[in-house]
């Protein structure tokens, strides 16, 4: 029973929110159409949050994801506008994202900056870069069917959910494996849990950190492609403040901001919880500001819970 509860812990918040919206009148259930929409709305935040999970369990933080998403979506759009195929645009976007992450990682390890400061700086830098290469206007480009990746109703219909959703779910499984069963994942957790120990155990801490940020950047680049698919244009001013949603998804999913703890399943649940909340508020006709106020307190609750857990363990 206890074990089951621990397994369910990252999903408890989600279950509570679902129960809440079912409990209050008009007792909204979830139809397949609703679920499709919510899942599609989870994709961008979800994929970026997988990378953020790696960063946060290693004791870091990345505030630049929103800007990096905008930059890589603009990059993809410009490649497509120049007449190239998706098969060039996709790698360009991924490399752009990975380069952003790599730069973050190098700043943090070589200049020994606190991650918060380093990525606060690059938050502005990547946003500026996106505006610079796009000339500060949205880049319209042929989509080559990319938009189908995030259409709630998929084509062909037997897919049930949009391809982007399947991609996200596949990545969740893959990255959960990376976190649990690879050296990189184990070392990320060790660094977040006790960096001095990791160093004394012969782990090359700086190299591992750079790898983690670059890998997170790669995922951010993919989220950028999804962002392009959603808007069907590369907008340099998109995803402002999205980093907060991404971080919130990780934290709601049980990731500890002091490092050492977090899971991909939890992060996925956290990202979905926020999409669910937004969707329900809209369905109930609640204004946008109510959503924002609720989401804010869900984050506060999640972190308070995390702190309480830490204190309990320390006894």
């Amino acid at each position: 029973m206890r074990r089951l509860l621990r397994l369910l812990e990252p999903f408890l918040g989600l279950l509570l929110v679902v129960a809440f919206f079912y409990a209050i009148p008009p007792h909204l259930g979830v139809s397949l159409t609703d679920l499709r929409t919510m899942l599609v709305q989870t994709v961008i935040v979800g994929i970026a949050a997988f990378g953020m999970t790696l960063v946060i369990v290693s004791g870091g933080i990345d505030l630049s994801v929103g800007s990096a998403i905008a930059l890589s979506s603009v990059a993809a759009a410009m490649v497509l506008r120049a007449g190239h195929s998706v098969w060039l645009a996709l790698p360009v976007a991924l490399v752009t994202g990975a380069a952003c992450g790599l730069y973050n990682g190098l700043l943090i390890t070589l200049l020994r900056l606190p991650p918060f400061i380093a990525t606060l700086g690059t938050l502005g830098f990547y946003r500026g870069a996106a505006k610079w290469i796009s000339g500060s206007v949205p880049v319209n480009a042929p989509t080559h069917g990319l938009e189908h990746w995030v259409r709630p109703a998929p084509d062909p219909p037997w897919l049930v959910f949009a391809p982007g959703v399947w991609l996200m779910l596949g990545l969740a499984v893959l990255l959960a494996g990376v976190l649990r069963y690879t050296i990189l994942g184990r070392h990320a957790l060790a660094i977040g849990s006790n960096e001095a120990t990791a160093r004394l155990s012969g782990i090359r801490v700086p190299r591992t950190k750079v790898l983690i940020y670059a890998l997170a950047g790669l995922l951010t680049g993919l989220a950028g492609v999804m962002q392009f698919a959603r808007l069907t244009q590369g907008d340099p001013t998109v995803a402002i403040g999205l980093e907060l949603d991404v971080i919130a998804a990780v934290v709601i999913g049980g990731g500890s901001l002091s490092g050492g703890q977090g899971s991909m399943a939890g992060t996925l649940a956290g990202a979905f919880l926020m999409a669910y909340l937004r969707n329900r508020c809209t369905a109930l006709g609640w204004p946008n500001y109510v959503q924002e106020m609720i989401v804010g307190h869900i984050i506060i609750l999640a972190v308070a819970l995390d702190q309480w857990r830490i204190r309990r363990q320390e006894r």
Binding site: T182, A190, S193, N194, A196, A198, S201, I203, G260
Partner: protein, 499 residues
Amino acid sequence: MSAPRLEMHGLVRRFGATAALQGVDLSVQAGEVHALLGENGAGKSTLMKILAGALRADAGSMRLDGAAYAPSGPLAARAAGVAIVYQELNLAPHLTVEENLVLGVEQHTLGVIRSRRWRARVIEVLQRLHRPEIRPEIPVRKLSPAARQLVEIARALLADARVLILDEPTSSLGLADTEHLFQLVRALAARGVSVIYISHFLEEVRAVADRYTVLRDGRSVGAGALAQTGTSRLVEQMVGRKLEEMFPRVEHAPGAPILEVESLAGRRLPASASFTLHRGEILGIAGLVGAGRSELLRALFGLEPVRRGAVRIGTAAARPGPAWRLRQGVGLLSEDRKLEGLALSRSVEDNLLLSDLGRYARLGWLRRRHMRAATTEWMQRLGVKARSPEQRAGELSGGNQQKLALARLLHHDVDVLLLDEPTRGVDVASKAQIYQLIGALAARGKAVLMVSSYTPELLGVCDRIAVMHRGRLGPARPAAEWSEAAILEAAASGKGIAA
């Protein structure tokens, strides 16, 4: 005699301007348990970090089984067969026992960990600890400090070491675990492993080690067979002077009671403590780590909740919370300078005046000139060596940091000083100064309650000593009625302490 397993010659290591090691020689045979002795700050930990690859030496050479040895990092040292158990716990609390054991040496295929490769070894090594509750799949944070210490030792065992370094391995272990550890160490030595054993406890060292080397102020000042060397000789080599010079006494006489504690119990610890402390008296509290001594001081200072019992300060009942205690004239010197005692990133002046800034304020504005004058005066009075009052506290040596923390209590002019390990991590010369200072305080009518794990200092400084065992404080008796052995026995077995 065959070539030694390990030879260190002329090792030098500097940190900025201070030389932690200035020419250390050490030689250890295969299958030998070698005790490395020395005061805090003598350079033992630095030396062992160099041996384990965590630090590089600035000069000097090392040979391992005759071959030149200069590890490029911890991993290289481990590969060469040198394993270390550090004094401070070095485990990742969120990872499991098994994950911690193989951290840094995971077997893998294309980056995917193959946990079965180590499984059999992990289980074998854990069995040798004789603690069945330490299972491979338990997260380390769920284990007791003693069990964690054993996990660290298991980590070194897993490496199949030729040289095993144990740095104060028993500081958080109980008697039974200590005995298991000794058996383990002897078994390893019988199999040809060289063990370097660092400890303060001379009895413990005699029980397990064959030969010794003493470090003082970064130099090796003595070596030989333990069986042929008396304890007083060892101590003299460690401190560099005769024992009586270590504990300068300042004459003082007890006066009226100022702190009366009646059956005090905290949430978890202490279980029960009663005593009376007088003005002009130094009362020492001995006991093992985890017996509840720090918790007693913290409860007295209002940092830990009090479940039962009464505390009277002077004639008034104590009110809850540290702010009130300070007003009532009670001050605490924390055992943890770095985390609790000092604001390391702030200046000497900020730290010194922090608890009583109101004295320098007019209408809420601080008067810098008055503050500077007071700081300079207090630094002189206690001999705090710093470049200026503006130097950051974190840059001072351990001894000066401790004097600074003491200076804050004195600046606040408290009547009752609760001192938790007042000489931990302090060099020998500063220790003697701190003892002198404590004596002088008593002579001025202050009352001192002092917790220490260093028994000679309790015997040398205190008027009366009480021993704590599993949260219960025994009766306070004059220091002259105690011996080091009697204190250790009471601390370990609870003899003479009502259950």
